[in-house]
């Protein structure tokens, strides 16, 4: 390959040494860098501005829910007080959300890790079919599942043998598992595969069984991947709306997303945008904090298996 630079092999002057040590960037290179920073700023704005609008709307006076001023004046936290008023029972619904999302995540991790271990490390026939089946499971539109699930959990024919689970946490957790498991299994399988088998083999040469080798060697190394999967599943379960609306109708059992949809203002027709936006901020901020703290791991997780 021909090159365009010529190499002086001897007698570099002092200036030339300086130039080689500190090359001046050509102009278009610098423009490129500036443009890329502009681009980055645009990206950040793109992502943040609607969220900014949500925050701004929540800080207005309750009666000015639909104002379009860019900065609320006067700023007021009345909406936040309204969110936590006794009428809305929002504190309780936040707890319910935590219970549902937390349990879903723990169970998904439990079943997902052992399932991913099987898929990543063990050879068996039908592996491709299992993977396809698990992936196909995440393709069901929810509308397909809801009516039969409703019959199932309410012990209606042909499910009279099934326990009555309406208004129980498990009626939302179990279907949630069926959405979270494919995701987790897929991501965790990809993570485990990235870790070479030699690690476990080395441990087993030292006398461990495969199970112990997995637990003591691989899991700690895969901890970032497990954490990422946990966050992804948690956010998905926290987001869940339709299932919770259908199965958790009791005021004391409903989750935060359902509670937000039931907010009304002072009249039956009113959509209290201020309160809803405030509740939205309250529901989002914990997720955002978790996401910001673990963002490196999340990105690694999302990109490991190319998952949603």
């Amino acid at each position: 390959m021909s090159t365009t630079t010529e190499v002086h092999e001897e007698h570099l002057s002092q200036e030339e040494i300086e130039k080689l040590a500190h090359p001046k960037q050509p102009l278009n290179r610098r423009i490129g860098v500036v443009l890329s920073y502009v681009g980055m700023a645009l990206i950040v704005l793109y992502c943040i501005i609607p969220f900014y609008w949500m925050i701004v709307s929540s800080l207005r006076l309750p009666t000015e829910g639909q104002s379009t001023e860019f900065i609320p004046s006067p700023a007021s936290i009345d909406n936040y007080k309204g969110v936590f008023s006794a009428q809305n029972n929002f504190g309780r619904s936040l707890i319910n959300s935590v219970i549902v999302a937390g349990t879903t995540t723990i169970l998904v991790l439990l079943f997902g890790i052992i399932g991913a271990y099987a898929l990543a490390r063990l050879r068996f026939r039908g592996k491709g079919a299992v993977l396809w089946l698990i992936m196909a499971c995440s393709m069901f539109p929810l509308v397909v599942l809801l009516p039969p699930l409703l019959k199932m959990f309410s012990s209606t024919a042909p499910f009279t043998w099934f326990p009555y689970w309406i208004n129980t946490y498990q009626s939302v957790i179990l279907p949630g598992l069926s959405f979270g498991l494919p995701l987790a299994v897929w991501t965790l399988t990809a993570f485990f595969k990235q870790l070479p088998v030699e690690l476990e083999q080395a441990a087993m040469v030292d006398g461990c069984t495969p199970g112990v080798a997995f637990r003591k060697v691989i899991l700690p190394l895969a901890a970032p991947g497990v954490l990422t999967t946990a966050i992804i599943v948690f956010i998905g379960a926290w987001n869940e709306f339709l299932l919770a609306l259908t199965f958790l109708q009791d005021k004391n059992r409903q989750t935060a997303t359902v509670a937000i949809s039931k907010f009304t203002g002072s009249t039956g027709f009113d959509t209290p945008y201020g309160t809803i936006m405030a509740a939205g901020v309250v529901v989002t901020v914990p997720l955002l904090l978790a996401v910001l703290i673990f963002q490196r791991r999340i990105v690694a997780g999302l990109t490991a298996g190319g998952v949603k």
Binding site: T63, Q66, Q87, G126, K127, G128, A129, L131, W132, L133, A136, L150, K151, S154, T156, A157, P158, F159, T160, I166, L245, T246, Q249, D250, K251, S261, K262, T264, G265, S266, T267, G268, F269, D270, T271
Partner: protein, 437 residues
């Protein structure tokens, strides 16, 4: 290519699974019957015990107070309030779902007047024995709205009628009286808008978004022009010149800007906010707007500067559409005795009055409208009473959801200028003839 074999296996697995489960499903019967039929045993209205009342969001906080009051007087059966989403479609859906799963705790339902036929025909609610539930004292329209095939299926609770809100300050300034027809309203607007020269000041708006409110406004326009949607004989007859004139008037008002273009996205609240911000001279809405528009906390720029009149007509006097809710007893409820007691409690004169005072909802009991305390707090009550007494109900149909969607299709298309009113009504007539027999 690793997909031939696994796919093969998946098919095999799926086939065997389906065989298994079809067998299981077949064993349990191919689908539950959707509620009572003609062979249902007589209902037991005597059992007492705890019950749930299913109703939309309690925005005033007063409903819980009423429930507490009932519970203190009724020790052998307590009532719990099961709050539903404030969207009417979601309320209906939850009630239907819980009927399907035979929820025994769901006992009292707050049924919108347009759902009576569906809930009665499909056996979601019990027919109420006339001896336990006398109907004198209630507004005729409310009793009518709770009746299906000459049987009472719900007990009247609240009513509602459309009102014309107007700006007293503007009308007085130009020496005008509240209009009784659309033509008068147009003339008034022309005069006022020419004088005010404020291009943010719109003339008139109702509810025109694609939802139940559109059916209401369409209904009022058609009747105000002498037309009907469903005739006296119970058969649809909407493709008439009168009905066309009604829809055409609304369409023209949109085209010529007498109704603001944005009103096609308005429900009740958007219109109220526009009126309160001083952007409308005339506004069609329900009674609840009165107190809100009079608030002096800064949310309303027109506090004290408006009043209420009966709806204007197009070629005859205006006709309001009937709104409101009634209480019904769910078919699968366990403790119907308590439900009966609760229905009677909610319809008693004391409760009706206290509820009206607290919520500004229009009562179903006629005497409350002339109660001095009520009139003092809500001066528009006499006008509201007239509006309700002359109100027409929306079409009664078992599949009301389909009916209202068909009406909305026709009206929305015409108002957006996408179809001609007469063509839209022709299509509507065809659809209604299959839905309402």
């Amino acid at each position: 290519m690793t997909f031939v074999r696994p796919a093969h296996r998946v098919l095999l697995a799926a086939a065997s699974m389906s065989a298994l489960f079809v067998a299981a499903a077949c064993g349990g019967g191919g689908g539950a019957p959707s509620g009572g039929g003609s062979s249902a045993p007589a209902a037991d209205f005597s059992k007492q015990g705890d019950i749930e009342v299913w109703q939309g969001k309690d925005t005033s906080g007063n409903f819980q107070k009423l429930i507490d009051q009932f519970n203190s007087q009724h020790p052998n059966g307590k009532v719990t309030f099961q709050e539903l989403p404030d969207n009417a479609d979601q309320q209906r859906q939850q009630m239907v779902q819980n009927t399907q799963i035979k929820n025994p705790k769901m006992a009292v339902l707050s049924v919108d007047v347009v759902w009576t036929a569906e809930f009665a025909a499909k056996g979601y609610v019990e027919a109420l024995p006339p001896d336990k539930f006398p109907t004198d004292g209630f507004l005729k329209a409310t009793v009518n709205s709770a009746t299906y095939f000459n049987k009472l299926y719900a007990y009247p609770s609240t009513s509602d009628g459309g009102l014309l809100y107007y700006r007293t300050d503007l009308l007085n300034k130009y020496g005008l009286k509240p209009p009784t027809s659309f033509d008068e309203m147009k003339a008034a607007c022309d005069k006022i808008q020419a004088g005010e020269k404020d291009n943010k000041l719109g003339c008139f708006a109702g509810q025109y978004n694609k939802y139940e409110g559109l059916t209401v406004n369409f209904d009022e326009a058609v009747h105000g022009a002498g037309g009907v949607i469903v005739g006296e004989d119970g058969k649809p007859n909407v493709a008439t010149p009168e009905a066309t004139k009604g829809l055409q008037t609304l369409t023209d008002w949109f085209k010529t800007g007498y109704i603001p273009k944005a009103a096609i996205t308005w429900k009740e609240e958007e219109g109220r906010k526009a009126f309160q911000a001083g952007e409308l001279i005339f506004h069609r809405n329900w009674g609840y707007v009165y107190n809100l528009a009079n608030k002096t906390d800064g949310s309303s720029k027109i506090a004290g500067k408006f009043d209420v009149a009966p709806l204007p007509g197009i070629t005859q006097s205006g006709v309001s559409s009937l709104g409101g809710h009634n209480y019904a007893i769910a078919k699968n409820a366990e403790n119907k005795g308590t439900a009966v007691d609760f229905l009677k409690f909610m319809s008693s004169p004391e409760t009706q009055k206290s509820n009206t005072l607290a919520t500004s909802n229009s009562p179903a009991l006629e005497s409350v409208y002339s109660d001095p305390e009520v009139v003092k707090k809500f001066p528009f009550m006499p006008v509201q009473l007239k509006s309700i007494q002359g109100a027409v109900p929306r079409p009664k149909a078992v599949e009301y959801g389909d009916v209202t969607l068909a009406i909305q299709d026709a009206a929305y298309g015409a108002l957006q200028g996408q179809t001609q009113p007469d063509a839209a009504l022709q299509a509507l007539q065809t659809k209604l003839q299959t839905l309402i027999k």
